[in-house]
Amino acid sequence: MNEATNVVLELLPHFEGYVYPNEATPQPLWSVLIVLYPYITGLVAGAFIMASLVRVFNVRALEPVYRLSLLTAFAFLLCAPLPLLFHLGQPQRSFQVMITPHLTSPMAIFGFVYAWYLMAVLLLELWFDYRRDFVEWSRRAGGWKGLLYRVLTVGVDDVSEASVDLDRRMGHLLSVVGIPSAFLLHGYVGFIFGSVKANPWWGNVLMPIIFILSAIVSGIALCVFNYQVLMWVRRRTTDIRCLDVMGMFLFYALVVDAGVEALDWIHRVYSAEEGFQMMHQMANEKLFYTLNLGQALLGTLVPALLLGALQLLRRHIPELARRRIYFASAVLILVGVLAMRWNVVIGGQLFSKSLRGVMSYKMEFAGMEGWFMGAFLFMLPFIVLTVLIRLFLPENPPGGKTDLPEAAPPARLASQPGAP
């Protein structure tokens, strides 16, 4: 009997009210891995925007984190499609996406957007930025590292003034192209959700904009986090001027993001279309903790107050306290944006299309799409980033010239036309 009862319990999902038979599945179709996909993609776009503040907008105070942000974007971009791949299963078939590319499916087009961003923007920008260093390091480093740097020079060892100047101009051009590309990358993720018109939680024209803005916020927060952790690991002090400027951009990006999201909610509440009753129920019951506490309070309000207070009272607050406040705000924002992705992806699947019933989601621990896999896929970009930092942002680069983030060559910007 026990056995039979277990079968029944496993067979029947948990739900309340009226749900359609095809919605009565034990788990939502899109699990926590699909939460991670827009989260990681957003971090990429945000980190790239952060880097382009230096390149395109000449924010010289952010120079120490320029390369770190680019490498962060790169590490996270490499891992961005993995949650999708693991969720779909059959990873051995993934190459077929490339062999027989589909041209009208929205999800397939993401492949093109991704490939463009990785191959035509990020890799090229990194390469032009690093080319002179690759040439120099390949001459001085030995062993496999020297070989790696030599391969990365692609056989070009011209580091004359004119050649390096061309690299700089190409990097600038790629950054200019990169900003709309980063918007496209994450705006597209928002579009995929926003275009599901049957789902009142998703089908919304503001969705791509909300996704981009929250991506910028989370990306800057990730750079603040990574920079402080890296400096802590290396037992060096962070450049407080850089942190102040990052904090300022983080604050304003957060305000704009919160403003647009609030606008979205005000619109939903005031227009109170047919799905509104259900959304109200979701916000008060199913998503109470992740939406109200995670996203709104801890992820937006608290960091906005902390960072806003620093904008006004910066001079009166000692540096150490500022560093800690920036760190705490960054962590809170990262958690808040993760909660936002959860609310969008899981929230949109927890209510019936009948708008008369709710389903539930209980994450498994060790399964293909459980806690463990989610945590692993989120840690993976950090592991990749650690390797990248060891190779390309070394504490003691070959040849002895310090190339710490703090001491990134200011000459590059000083020689840039239009630099103040």
């Binding site: 039979a4 062999i99 090229l124 190409m170």
Partner: protein, 152 residues
């Protein structure tokens, strides 16, 4: 050609590298695309033949009626008449080919798959909360699936 060679060296290398990548992609695509891909639509045309060639696992009601005519006639008089035999009894082609191979044994879960209480089901459909309804695991102690309105 001269002009091309006068490109700055790093750009020239990148152009060559890009051509190399695109070229190897074109070669890989040429060899890896299944020959019948796109014949009828966005899938392998040969897949249709391969699927059709797979051995059938379901025999169909007529095959059951060849030996079990009594049961087929009996069930046709009751509300289970719309169900296929193999819906409850499992796929039967192997058994139809060789009656010595026994059919899958029926389980409790075959009944509750349809009759466990579920608000998504229409009201006219008979539903029970199985574990409250009867503590045993043999529905057939009281019910006759081939004649569900009859009580033994």
């Amino acid at each position: 050609m001269n002009r091309f060679l006068r490109l700055p060296p790093q750009i020239l290398r990148l152009v060559l590298l890009a051509l190399g990548i695109v070229g190897s992609y074109a070669v890989a695509r040429h060899f890896l695309t299944p020959p019948s891909f796109g014949e009828y639509g966005f899938y392998r045309g040969a897949a249709l033949g391969e699927v059709a060639a797979r051995p059938a696992v379901l025999a169909g009601r007529e095959a059951c009626a060849e030996c079990h005519a009594d049961q087929v006639t009996q069930v046709a008089a009751f509300s289970h008449k719309g169900l296929s035999c193999e819906g409850c009894h499992g796929a039967g082609q192997v058994h139809a080919d060789n009656p010595d191979v026994a059919m899958e044994k029926l389980h409790y879960s075959h009944c509750v798959r349809c009759h466990e209480a579920n608000p998504a089901r229409p009201k006219w459909h008979k539903q029970v909360v199985a574990k409250d309804h009867y503590p045993g695991d043999k529905c057939t102690e009281c019910h006759v699936p081939h004649a569900p309105s009859e009580v033994p």
